[in-house]
Amino acid sequence: MDDVELRELVPAVLSVLVRRGADFATAEDAVQEALIRALSAWEDDAPSDPEGWLIAVSWRAFIDMARSDAARRDREVRFGGDPPAGVAPCADDTLRLYFLCAHPDLTQSSAVALTLRAVGGLSTRQIAQAYLVPESTMAQRVSRAKRTVGRAGLDRPGDVRTVMRVLYLVFNEGYSGDVDLAAEAIRLARQLATLVDDPEVAGLLALMLLHHARRRSRTRAGGGIVPLAEQDRSLWDTGLIAEGVATLQAALAQDRRGEYQAQAAIAALHADASRFEDTDWVQILEWYDELLRFADTPIIRLNRAVAVGEADGAPAGLAALADVDQNIPRRDAVAAHLHERNGDLELAARLYASAARSAPNLAERDHQTRQAARLNQLLRHHR
């Protein structure tokens, strides 16, 4: 049993402890303790019932923690040493755990941290490495999050929307350190999809799979960005694409559409084109219009302008861009691209340089600088 398979068991084990009466914060620490023990104890020989093992060891760890806490506060412990029998893992409890970790009282960063630990089973150190913050900072974030949900309780837990937003945030963070956050988000979305029958959850999973399928083609060796039009499509993971498309089709068949399904549909249409020139931009544009009905945001309008430019030509794209808020990130980059396609290379070069100045990350900044340099070189040759 590897680390990921072990972590698959975490939410069920934790929800059993909570249902037996353990408080969430201590139970979560106890499960982490059991995970550490499992990693060394199972190295040679995994138990025949890993979940049962984890429940028993977590429960004992919980009792130890509760006792020492009680001794510190001079109180009696209400729980006995032997795990009460008869409480089996249950999907509803596991789902409630997801909701609790994405509780609306939590800040986004706290909900992310708590979800990765309590549902994902990652250690505080792993989460800290992935988000490039000191381990003590992440430990504080997790324990504050636990206090917040402890106070708020389950009277007003989050719902599946807040959980999806948290998983999407994790997915978008990409990866650094030894934990692949995108893969982790997919794993959790898969698990969520088994717990709840909601086509938007399936849509989110499909969206993640379809984007993940293109990952190897998106960056160059040094970390530079490769735009969609230049990606080597033979590097796309056809297995993930097939799974994403099938997941999406099953969701769409339920006829309860939403923004994640619409975004997944756009990703599926890109994945479907074996060459960039074969992209069905007319259908993509229809999905953008549908997406706007669910979520009318400047980012979606910006991406829609790109699709308009491809479907109806650069002038139409520029007209669509005119409606987009001036101050959103990447607007200059899109304007530069459309002006280049429209033949105004000097304006495009200036806009690429401006896009580089306002880029939100280094890879993007380098990419836009490269674009500006490319056009300026062309312009020098033509003079």
Binding site: G223, A353, A356, S358, A359, R365, R370, A372, A373, N376
Partner: protein
């Protein structure tokens, strides 16, 4: 060991020798620069002297307290700010001489024409924790 900050400025230092804006370089010259920076960071990690490296966006604002119960005052961004920090390396090295040597190497990053930029970098020692033995 002592820690030093190698500070890179968008503006504010003396003019470099090879001063051509990046978007006026050829794409190949730009690639060579990116590769150099990548290699420099990788080499610092290999020698055990790397602590941190970050780049900053040129956009920023000034903020100050404006009294009890009032939101902070913000000012800027100022297009004409004289001194604008672009990013930094934090290094942990054996000596001041080593810090100067590394800053010199970083300043040789290639720019237009593939020639070194000769960019001025600011080297600032950290104020460290006091040593155990002080008498």
């Amino acid at each position: 060991m002592a820690k030093y900050l190698l500070l890179k400025h968008y503006r504010g230092g003396p003019a470099p020798v090879n001063e051509v804006p990046m978007d006026q370089w050829t794409p190949d010259e730009f690639e060579a620069h990116v590769q150099f920076m990548h290699d420099f960071a990788a080499r610092l990690e290999r020698t055990g002297e790397f602590v941190d490296g970050q780049a900053l966006s040129p956009d920023g604002v000034w903020v100050r307290y404006d009294g009890e119960g009032r939101p902070p005052v913000t000012d800027g961004p100022f297009a004409e700010t004289k001194d604008l920090i672009a990013g930094w390396y934090v290094i942990d090295v054996d000596s001041y001489e080593r810090a100067i040597e590394l800053a010199g190497e970083l300043s040789a990053a290639p720019g237009a024409g593939g020639d070194p930029i000769h960019e001025w970098l600011e080297v600032r020692p950290f104020l460290a924790a006091p040593p155990t033995v002080i008498e």
